[in-house]
Each structure stands twice: as C-alpha cells, then as structure tokens.
C-alpha cells in the first residue's frame, strides 16, 4: 500500500530535523499541520460547488548563532530541505530581537481534551449533499419573499504535531461539521439578507430545519427596517454581535501586544477594567471546544483561566517569552510566529434571558449585527464606529427593525459599561463566544 501523505510529511520532518542538526542548527523543532476538508454548496436544489482538499505545512525552527530562525514549506523535496536550512539560518542572522520564543523540552504533564469525533469520518459525501439539499429545499419552500442564496455543508479535520530535538513529541487531532445557509428576502423595494450557521460533531448537531428556519427568520425580521435618529441610547448587544466585537478586540488581552505598546491593558493586572458582571474565561480544555488543544504552539501545556474575574483583569495571555519578561508562568497561549492568542475565549453567562435584558432596559436598541470590523474597529485605541442593524425596543418589547446606522464607542469603555450579562452563551462557528449583554449607552448615528 502507498504511504499516506501525512506519513511522508512526518518522515520528511524527521529528515529536516536531522539535516538541521547536521548543519549546526541546534536545538531544532518541526511542526506539521495537516488539514483536510470537504464542502458542498447548493442553491435552488442544484449542487453548485463540490470541494475536497488536503493541505500540509512543515515549519522548521532552530537556534543558529544565538538566535532562533524560522522557515516553512508545503513541498517535500531536496530543494525544500535546502530552503529550510538556509531559511532558518538567514532568518536567525536577520533577527535582532533578544527576546525570542525558545525551543524547550516537554512539560511534565498535559491536560486531556477531546474535539475529534469518529462519527464525522463516517458521514458520506452523499449524506452531506442530502443535508444541504434538505436545508435548501426548506428555504425554497419557506416563503414567497425568500430566494435562497447558498447552503453550505462542510466537514474539516486537522492534525497538528510538534516535535523537537529536546524530546518534545506531541500531536493533536480535531475535526467538526458545519452547515450554514444565506438567503435574500424581498418585499417591494425592501431587501434583506439572512444567515444561520450551526456546527458540531455529528449530523444531529446541524439540524437542517434549524439552519433553514433560522436563516429565513433572520432575513424576514429585517424587512421593512427603518432608520434611527442620531443620539446616545441604551443598548442590548445580542450574543453573536458581542462575540464579533470580542473577537475583533481579543488582541488587547495578549501580553505580547501589551509588552510592545499595542494594548492599553499593559500593566493593568489586578485592576478593575470591566464591570463586576464580566468574567472572561479562556478555556483550551473545554470538551468539544472548537479551539481546544492540550498544548500550545510551542508545546507548553495549556490551562483554563479567567482573564477577567468579576471585572478585575486577572491575567493577560502569555507564551513562555512574554511570561518570562513579566516574571510569571506561561498561560499556554503561544500561537506560533511569536504571537499570543486565545483558545476558546468567552464571557461567562449570567442568569437573564435575552427577554429579561430587554425588559430591564425598557427603551433602547437591540443590536443584532455589526459589520466592517476589520476597518471600523481599532484594537489599539479601542475605538469602534460600525455599520449596524438591530431592533428598536420600547418598554422591553421589540418594536421595529432598524438599519443604516452606525454604533460608535470604545471597547474598554464598553467593558466598564456592561450592566448585565445574559444566559445565552453562543459560539457561532468561532472559538470566541459571548452571551448577550446590556450596556449603558452607545452612540448611534442615523438620520
């Protein structure tokens, strides 16, 4: 039988480690990431897109003349071997920074976490197409105002391995299935798009009815949206929109950013940076979490911790280098290439339902969507000014849909202004999640 591609790559990685040692690069570390995916897209009962992939990447790091260099490749040949060795040396010679991510032996102990489901491997291509067709059929049948745009069903898996010349040898596999649908609702001159995504580890997690009905509901309830008067308003930010904001600003919790003057949270450990209602947790050991892994990208054991505890900044996220500089222990958040990143990051849910939050607010705005986050939000200043959608709320009840306004504020002020946290924690196709939150005031620009 032919050798599998990942096996070939692991052998090539071992060869690269040997070549590095022989070239005087020591210690050396090889990481191999293998990802495979399958995806189908359906529209109006036609299969439009069918996509299958496998991708592999080898990254070699090693110490050369006192500094650590990096190079990577997707090709396994002699040319790549030379490129890796030469690349690591050139990189090490160029780098001037004395504080670098080191290559170290394994930790004494690693936690255990599972986010790989054997069941996903048994779902056939036909079953995934049938699921997409079923979602699309329900979209087509839903309502005369609805035109389906796309229904996508996809499975993906990843194997991440890391091995070094100091005895580290770790590997973790994860996979998932997701399904989403988007549609357009039209009524007279009004048009609105709807979207719904579900994900999980078995077919039951991606119920076609829930995807289709959620998508239709999302579009239809936006139809006939009006404008809002400019001014400051009380706002409940719905879970998905709050998760988008948290995700955009998650870099402020990186100790790497803080140490480089790129986060305003530098030196704020132990102080209140958020309302007492806010506890923010990073949990790499969350069972079936999308971002779960028992070790980080430098092979350090990962651990569950509160970043914000009852409003107080408990810790920033560290890798070994930033931790050493700060005189603390790593939090196991090395993300590769010197960066630090969260695993599964979320605001701890409270007791109130979304309805309770609206009732408590009385009059104000339910913010359901923010767009253009890559441009309209600045993680360094914390400022944001974003195109948004939502519903006007009067006396605790949704009154009407509203659109074409911006919501502006500052993320750090927003954290302080959170008055209540909902119970509806949501991870919408991302390892960063949030429940809905009620905030004092945000600035609205509309008419």
């Amino acid at each position: 039988m032919e050798k599998s591609f990942d096996l070939q790559m692991n052998e090539f990685a071992a060869k690269a480690l040997d070549a590095a040692q022989a070239a005087g690069i020591s210690p050396a570390e090889a990481t191999v990431a293998l990802s495979e995916s399958f995806s189908v897209r359906v529209r109006a009962q036609k299969l439009e897109d069918y996509k299958v992939s496998d991708r592999i990447q080898l990254t070699l790091r090693g110490r050369w003349q006192g500094r650590i260099g990096t190079a990577s490749t997707q090709a396994m040949d002699e040319e790549s071997l030379a490129l890796l060795i030469q690349g690591v040396k050139e990189s090490a010679e160029l780098i001037e920074n004395d504080e670098q991510d080191d290559i170290l032996p394994p930790d004494a102990q690693y936690g255990a976490v599972c986010n790989y489901s054997d069941v996903i491997d048994t779902i056939s291509a036909e079953d995934k197409i049938a699921l997409a067709m079923c979602i699309d059929e329900r979209l087509c049948a839903a309502d005369a105002r609805i035109s389906p745009d796309a229904t996508v069903v996809s499975t993906a898996s990843e194997v991440f391995s890391i091995k070094n010349t100091l005895g580290l040898d770790l590997s973790h596999s994860s996979n998932l299935i997701y399904a989403y649908a988007s549609c357009l609702a039209r009524e007279g001159e009004a048009a609105a798009t709807g979207f719904k995504l579900l994900w999980g580890y078995a077919l039951e997690d991606v119920s076609p009815f829930d995807v289709a009905d959620g998508c239709v509901k999302d579009a239809v309830e936006k139809l006939g949206a009006g404008r809002l008067q400019s001014g400051a308003r009380c706002v409940v930010i719905r879970s998905n929109a709050m998760a988008d904001l948290l995700s955009t600003f998650s870099g402020v919790f990186s100790a790497d950013n803080a140490q480089k003057g790129l986060s305003l949270l530098a030196g704020k450990e132990g102080t209140a940076i958020a309302s007492p209602a806010v506890t923010l947790t990073d949990d790499p050991l969350m069972p079936w979490g999308m971002g779960s892994c028992p070790f980080d990208r430098e092979g350090a054991a990962t651990m569950t911790k509160n970043v914000i505890d009852g409003g107080v900044l408990h810790t920033l996220l560290h890798n070994r280098r930033t931790a050493a500089k700060a005189g603390v222990a790593t939090t196991g958040n090395a993300a590769g290439a010197g960066r630090v990143a969260p695993s599964n990051l979320y605001i701890q849910p409270g007791q109130a339902t979304l309805q309770d939050l609206l009732a408590h607010m009385g009059d104000g705005l339910l913010l359901t969507e923010v767009s253009g986050l890559h441009a309209g939000a600045n993680p360094i200043s914390g400022d944001f000014s974003l195109l948004a959608r939502g519903f006007e709320v009067v006396d605790g009840e949704i009154q009407r849909a509203v659109e074409q306004f911006t919501v502006a504020g500052n993320f750090f002020a927003l954290l302080q202004d959170i008055e209540a946290v909902g119970s509806d924690l949501l991870f919408e196709g991302s390892p960063i999640g949030s429940p809905s939150v009620a905030v004092k005031k945000l600035n609205i620009a509309g008419e």
Partner: protein, 461 residues
Amino acid sequence: MLSSALCSRVLARALRGGGTFAEIFYEDTRAFGMTLRSGKIENAAVSRPRGAGIRIYDGLRSIYVYTCDVTQQGLLRAADRAAAAVTDTKGTGRDVILHEKTFENIHPVKTPVLSVDAQRRADVLRAADGAARTVSPRITQVTCGLLAREQHVLIANSEGLYTGDTRTYTRLTCSAIASDGAENQTGTDSPGALMGFELFESRIDPEKSGRKAAKTAVTMLDAPYVQAGEMPVVIAGGFGGVIFHEACGHSLEATSVEPGMSEFAGKLGKQIAAPCVTAIDDGTMPGEWGSENIDDEGTPTTRLVLIENGVLKNYMIDRLNGLKMGMAPTGSGRRESYAYAPTSRMRNTFIAAGQDDEDEMIRTMGDGLYAAQMGGGSVNPATGEFNFAVQEGYLVRDGRITTPVRGASLIGRGSEILMRIDRVGKEMTMGQGMCGSLSGSVPTNVGQPTIRVSRLTVGGK
C-alpha cells in the same frame, strides 16, 4: 513545474467519467516576510507554498479538489477524487492535447526581492522606522513589514491551454502609534506593486511612507470625535477609491450578479451613477499591485470599462459565471492560491479623472467632512449596504477645512452614493489593498481623483 505530458494525463483522468471541462492550476511560490518593531528586526521567514487544484465543470457545477501532493500519484489521486463527483457522464474518456501558449510579459521584474542581500532588505524597514520616529516624540511604537511573494503558476485545461506566469509582488507596510499615555491613535501606509526590489528605487520612498503613517497617528491623537449625522463629504484620491470598490465594485462582480444577489443585476445599459462618473477595472497597468499578464484561469487580462458617464457597461466575469450568464469572460478570474477555485474579482479599479477643481469642491460644500485618508470597508452586495472607516478626517466649516476629527465611518447604499457624486477631480491616484471574497485574498488597487458626495451618513460619537 508540471510537464505538458503529465498535465494532459491528469486532465484526461479527471474527465474519464464525464464533465465538460477540466483545469489544473499549479503553483510553486516563494514568499518572504520580515517585521521590524520597537526598532529591531523581530521576525524574518521564508516559506514555500506549493500545491495544485483540479477543477471540473460538471454541467454548470464546479468540482474542485486541491492538494499539496503534486507527485504524479498525488495529482492522479486528486483527479480521481474530482471525477468521482461528476454526475453528467456525457463525453467520457476524452483525450486532452495541450498546446503551450506564451504571453508578452507586460510587468517585467528587474530584481526579485529574494535575490537581494538580506541586510539591504532590512535597511528598507530601518529607513521607514527611523523616519516615522522623527515625526514626533509622541510616536510610541512603529511596526514596519516587508512582504515579498514570487508566485510561479501553471495553468492547463481540457481546451488545450498550457500556459504559465510568474507574479512578483513586493509591499512595504508601515504602522505607527501615537500615544499621550491614556489614549492611542494609529496611522498606516502600505504601498506595494507588482514589481521586485526596484520598487524602492523607482516608486516608493520608505521614509515618506513611515512619515505619512506617523503624521496621521499624531494628527488623530489631537482630534476630537466627529459629530455624527448626514452631510456632504469630500473624499481625497488614492486609497479613497475604496469607496467605489466597496459601494459598487463588489456588486459588479459576476459572483454576485449571476445569482441575482447584486443591486446592479440586470442593469447593463442603465444609468446607475451620476453622469460625471466613469469607472474602470484595469489589469494591464504596468507593475501595478492589481495587475497581471493572465488571470488565474489563463485568460489574458484586460482593461474593462465598468461605468461610462454614469451608464453601466460591463460586469467583471470569470469563466464559469460567463457560461452561466452567456457572456464572455473578462480576464477577471482570480484566486488567492491553489487552495481556492477562481471567481470574478477586481484588479486595479478606479473612478477615472474628471473635470472638477478640487478647491472649488470644498469651497462650495458648506459644512461637512473631508476624508483625507480612508481605512478599509466592506459591503453586502445583495443589498448594497456598505461601510468604511475614515482614517484621517477633517471638519469642513463654511467651505473651509478646519480641525481634524477622529472616529468617523461612512455608511450608505451603493446605488445611492453613486448617484450622489457631484464632483470628480482632475488627477486620479491609487492605493493598494488586499481584497477578500469567495476565492480568498487577492492584491487589488483602488483609486480615484478627489470626489464629492452631496450627502452621506457619517457615523461617530
């Protein structure tokens, strides 16, 4: 590179069970990235992305399989995986005969970045960093990056095409932070081109870039928040062209037009913009960031008039959407890499130079906003709702530019803003960006002269 014999074998294998068209896109890329931060080179790494994507048209359905395993065995396996999904079994077992096709290289490269001594590469970043830091003592951090990519592509298809190209991209990124201790503001400048290291001799002055980023950051540190509301807005040239890119460009891509998910679907020949607006998407401009010789389907690139005097003339069309729409492809089939099937994308997209005087536009606008530098933005093509950020804005009071203001964003609908453009200046300039869509992130230029929009919603505090 893959031999013609291997490509024809793989293509024939892909079509053995039917399908109307098969294509191989093979890429072997050398990429180099380097970052300087806190005055020191912090990262430098070379990488070699390599892989191939095999596409089959099964009727009007796209089947796409990609892999990093580009051995004969790996490619045949990928062809088999693609063939297994074919349902239209007509025309099975065809032979594929390939003819090599060459194109004139309209973007010759003098000095590939990787051939330049490593320290000379680092000097570009040091120059930008040093210049940024001299702007003000309140500049607390400068991050500069050099990105270089040499993408060797080979494209072969069952219609007999066997061709290739090398695209050499070089880009400098500068980002500066100004701080007064309590607040941070940022400024950026990120020029790039389809050129090699000669870029820094002929087109881009790293010091100027560093200074520009730093000046924006310092200016914004002193700026109060903009007062939100509806007002006239003058948008400066260069990266200001992002407004057309978002508000209109994406909605003219076949990706959104073909399924009817665009507010401009069915509007060819109709007045969709004010008569002073002519807009072009041009892949042929020598050495420009969004230029190409051939697109990622092997179609020669073109200069395409999108809007002429306000009338919609053309959509940007890739091969498959062309088939679905019954229209010819426009050399607009692009993809980030072999990991994406191509689709219709913008190249260098701009509003062409007009007749209007730039001073007059401001003098006669009354109270409003002058957007000197834009940030990025996004659009929902189905509804035309767009948004983008103003990186450096100024209040206009009674026809005069007064104080800088921060936190402004511009929102609206594409169809509305195009009709509300009432002035188009005389000198078109461009800025560089990475544009994200279905086929990944591709280099695009945005551009325009200074323009005026009679009324826009400005978001802020």
